[in-house]
Amino acid sequence: MIKVSNITKTFDEFTAIDNLSLEVSNSSIYGLVGYNGAGKTTLLKTIAGVYVPDSGTVEMDGIDLFKHPEKKQELFYVPDDLYFGLSSSMKSMAKYYKSFYPNFCMDTFHKLAGLFGLDINKKIMGFSKGMQRQAEMVLGLSTLPKAILLDESFDGLDPAKRNLTKKLLLDYMADKECSILISSHNLHELADMCDHIALMNGKNIAIDCAVDDMNGSRCKFRLAYTDNIDSNIFKGIEYKNYKADGKIVSFTVSKNLDEAERIIAATNPVLIERFPLSLEEIFLEEMEDTDYDFDKLFS
């Protein structure tokens, strides 16, 4: 289990993460979503020990990683920017990592390399970007970690390899009961495999809940009336994205859905439709702070 408690990280005067907390349980794949520059990579690097936070703690299985960095022998960080030695092959990198990860298993390494169809004797710098990511994934999983941090690791993978990687991670998680924290800006990707999602919005986490719960945590109402109506009738409902198109009204609600439905019913609409929001819709709703007037942008 990875537990992040009140982490704050600043770069000179800029605060990248402000008092952030999250928890990744064993046998769990935790998705970290956010726009570019939201702080996902900063958080992962802080957990991995690449950055030293200004305050806060990171624990793995109850052990503070900053005070006991040897615990990181059971954690593997796959960064967005991969590093391989100039003339290294997968085999030489495997030997390299074997020195630093006590559980590194050469059998697993060979099997995974075979699964991905990678030549372990060939120079990694000669691989394509996607193949390099696969190589790093193979090396990472070969360390048999109890926790894995993946930063945009599906970037550059073809659909087949993406599916293969997902399947491997799911199987590994189930088999080893490990904690996987994966960051991406691709919601669809994460929705398929994560059981928990956190949306990072700037310095902190805006939404943090199980995928199943998220689907049911918000919904969109579409209502039809006989006459044009005023939005005041929905007083008591915390709604967003209110749109009125004649007698048809729509808005989203993220809290107290049943209470909201009751209030709506009291307004006697001709039609009530309730739709769950997709992750993308939820994401967009959270990320959008302003309505852009694109008409005036180029005039």
Binding site: F11, D12, K45, A48, G49, V50, Y51, V52, P69, E70, K71, K72, Q73, E74, L75, F76, Y77, P79, D81, L82, Y83, Y96, S99, F100, Y101, P102
Partner: protein, 789 residues
């Protein structure tokens, strides 16, 4: 296997991985040493007359550049091992390992040091083996010498590596790491120069000691890259033909001071590693790959830049005591250097400059505090006088003791007995004294010091004329003057009663230690007190040494050569060859040839009898004439040809004209009290050559001015308040520029004669005395002095 036990394996893994990347450097150095060992041992088998231990002269593969090779290679090793800190990709991997930062740091450091030291030990062992194989006895003495050379060879690499590791592992980029490593490496030199300049220029009593070769050994704390040992490894020539190149077999000992460079290097290396490790633990990886974001290093190097520039300008163009104004300028220059550094090396330059401006007042205060400490006595240094009970001897040197004058640099044509004298006027020579001071950084008493010419610096305690006191009363007399100087405090050169005389006093204590203090300037009152030292036996005894024994022409050649390499006091002890007689109007000179032993001793006895008053405060009537003595050659090399020529012709010879002031000539003004000398000259019909031939009728006009009116601000550079008259032909009058600004002149013959009647050619020149420039009808110029009443 537990996580903790696996950490050892991780450490080992990182160590070995790192070692592979950089081991080619120690292997290269090892190969070079081995190759040289085999080369010169093969040579030695055939010649079998030389000993060695890593003798650079035998380098065959490449010239063994010593520290010029090992220092950059040490830095390169650090660069290779710590380049991961500048790469975000590598940092992601290495900092996410399950290792503490301390473990990462030391794994890298050991990877740099262990193979190098190990291979060098192996190479050293092979060298010793080779030495034994060619037949040399491996004694304990040899092994100590070998250990010394071994450490001297490896420490520059180690120190360079340690400093570079500490800096590069905490820098943001290669350029930053390289530049900051060099600056940090030289920080000790910058600091030493900074404090040395403050001490030398602002501490009363430090004088120009800093510029002089130390007679006592000094701990090498500022240049540990370079060994400053004075030990034993003499050249072939010194040890004779059959001697080994390295006198490892000599009886000289390697002193602790010789080891000091090595010890300092070890200490600095340890400090660098420890500080580097602490900083590495706190390293912000966000500086990775970015120039100028390593804030701590940036600040340290900016201060080093300022401190390095400070003494460069603080030396200014003058030696001697610094002024408060100069210090203020230097503080401003420090600020400029600091800000320029920040401008070039700072990240987010505008913000950084604003922050730096806020820090500057603190640095300025720090510099000022250091200045004040030195200016107000350096915590007791300036005011310290050892108790009389602890004093064995006191040596004093001052122009005020300059018994022998040097008014005239005689230029004479070969073959002439009577000669026209051409010379620069006394005032210009006075500036020349100051010029000499600048050139050689030491203070002269007006006589020529051969050593300065060749060794560039000298301990001027051993300059030609000093007084050595062992008598308690005379010691107290010297101490009284010293106290008076201390009480005078800092004196500006433009103060009305300032006297540009230097004073150096050395206390030799009973426990063997020495305390030296030197001063550039005193008050007139103190300067007059110094004159009383002329009446002491301490000076008289030294005068004996100064004149010394009478040497025959045959002895002189060997003696002069000897004097360079032995006790420098002996250089004073040189006899004179040609003796020239001049009247006090300096109109002509007569060469009487090499003086006899009898005359020599007569002259000596009169000089020793003469009191300070008779010497410095006589009147025009007291002056009879001038005796000038030319040494055989300008530079102490007495060629046979010159000796032969002077003996045969009894003539003078050309002295080198580059000697602007103190020349080979030593002269004495013969005064009425010197009765024995006068009698000798009379008996030998030589007094006639003291007869003056010039009167007021031969004079076109005279000008009068005080030293202050002539020298103005340059008065502060004068170091002797003693006047020497001179005589010069018209064409050198271009050099007589001081009087150009004096417009008033006297042409009235009666007035001129009245002045001539009061004028002296030598004497104590107070600030109220007047210098008289005499322009003769034929254009020749002379100078004399009208003493203050």
């Amino acid at each position: 296997m537990t996580l903790t036990s696996f950490s050892r394996k991780q450490f080992q893994g990182l160590f070995l991985q790192s070692l592979k990347a950089s081991v080619w450097i120690p292997l290269f150095l090892f190969a070079e040493k081995i190759f040289n060992t085999f080369s010169h041992s093969a040579n030695d088998f055939s010649i079998n007359e030389i000993g060695f231990f890593w003798n650079w002269e035998f380098s065959v593969l490449i010239p063994d550049l010593g520290p010029f090779l090992t220092i950059p290679l040490g830095a390169l090793t650090a660069l290779i091992l710590f380049n991961f800190t500048w790469s975000k990709k590598q940092s992601n991997v290495i900092f996410s390992f399950g290792m503490t930062r301390t473990e990462i740091y030391f794994a890298k450091v050991l990877a740099g040091l262990v193979p190098f030291v190990g291979l060098m030990i192996l190479a050293a062992g092979l060298e010793v083996f080779a030495c034994a194989a060619v037949g040399y006895k491996i004694t304990a003495r040899y092994l100590i010498g070998a250990l010394f050379i071994f450490l001297k060879t490896i420490m520059p690499f180690i120190l360079s590596f340690c400093i570079s590791s500490a800096v590069m592992s905490n820098a943001g980029s290669l350029i930053e790491g390289s530049i900051f490593s060099i600056m940090t490496a030289f920080s000790s030199v910058a600091l030493k120069t900074f404090f040395m300049k403050l001490f030398d220029r602002y501490t009363l009593g430090a004088g120009a000691l800093g510029f002089h070769e130390k007679t006592t050994p000094e701990w090498n704390w500022s240049t540990p890259f370079l060994d400053n040992s004075t030990v034993i490894f003499d050249t072939y020539y010194d040890l004779g033909e059959a001697a080994p190149y390295f006198s490892i077999y000599s009886t000289e000992k390697i002193s602790l001071y010789d080891w000091s460079g090595i010890i300092t290097a070890i200490v600095y290396s340890v400090i660098a590693i420890v500080l580097g490790s602490i900083a590495f633990n706190k390293r912000r990886n966000e500086i990775t790959g970015t120039f100028g974001r390593a804030r701590g290093l940036n600040e340290i190097c900016a201060v080093i830049a300022g401190i390095a520039l400070f003494p460069f300008f603080n030396t200014s163009f003058y030696y001697g005591e610094g002024t408060v104004g100069e210090f203020i300028v230097c503080v401003l220059l420090f600020c400029v250097a600091y800000l320029v550094f920040k401008l070039i090396f700072g990240h987010k330059r505008r913000q950084e400059l604003v922050k730096s401006l806020k820090r500057l007042p603190f640095y300025a205060c720090g510099l000022t505090a250091a200045f004040l400490i030195f200016y107000f006595g350096a915590l007791g240094y300036s005011s310290y006088i050892p108790p009389v009970s602890e004093i064995e001897l006191v040596t004093v040197q001052s122009p005020m003791l300059a018994y022998l004058d040097d008014p005239i640099a005689a230029k004479a044509d070969f073959g002439l007995k009577e000669q026209n004298i051409r010379d620069k006027i006394a005032l210009e020579r006075m500036e020349d004294y100051s010029l000499y001071e600048r050139l050689f950084g030491s203070v002269y008493n007006g006589t020529y010091d051969y050593l300065d010419e060749y060794e560039y610096t000298t301990d001027y305690i051993y300059a030609a004329v000093t007084a050595v006191f062992s008598d308690t009363d005379e010691i107290n007399q010297a101490i009284d003057i010293h106290r008076s100087i201390i009480a005078d405090g800092h004196i500006s050169g433009t103060e009305k009663d300032a006297c540009g005389t230097s004073f150096v006093i050395k206390y030799q204590l009973k426990d063997g230690t020495e305390i030296i203090r030197s001063y550039f300037r005193t008050t007139e009152e103190t300067a007059k007190k110094m004159l009383s030292l002329n009446n002491t036996t301490g000076l008289d005894n030294n005068m004996n040494r100064y004149f010394g024994s009478y040497y025959s022409a045959d002895d002189r050649n060997d003696y002069l050569y000897e004097s360079f390499s032995e006790n420098v006091n002996k250089s004073s002890n040189v006899s004179y060859s040609e003796c020239l007689l001049f009247p006090t109007d300096m109109s002509r000179g007569f060469d009487i040839g090499i003086i006899s032993e009898e005359f020599f001793h007569i002259l000596m006895s009169d000089i020793l009898e003469q009191s300070a008053d008779e010497h410095y405060h006589h009147t025009a009537e007291d002056e009879i004439g001038i005796l000038a003595f030319n040494l055989s050659t300008a530079h102490g090399y007495f060629s046979e040809e010159n000796l032969k020529l002077s003996e045969t012709l009894g003539a003078g010879y050309a002295t080198t004209s580059w000697n602007l002031n103190a020349t080979d000539t030593k002269a004495i003004v013969v005064t009425k009290d010197m009765k024995n000398t006068i009698r000798y000259l009379q008996d030998n019909n030589l007094l006639q050559y003291f007869e003056k031939s010039r009167t007021a009728d031969d004079i076109s006009h005279v000008k009068l001015a005080t030293m202050g009116e002539l020298y103005g601000k340059k008065l502060k550079h004068l170091n002797i308040p003693v006047f020497y008259g001179a005589y010069s032909i018209r064409q050198t009058q271009a050099e007589v520029h001081y009087f150009e600004k004096i417009e008033e002149k006297t042409e009235n013959k009666a007035e001129i004669q009245a002045l001539l009647d009061k004028a002296v050619v030598f004497g104590y020149c107070s600030n109220d005395s007047q210098i008289m420039e005499i322009t003769y009808n034929d254009g020749v110029v002379a100078t004399m002095m009208i003493p203050a009443s």
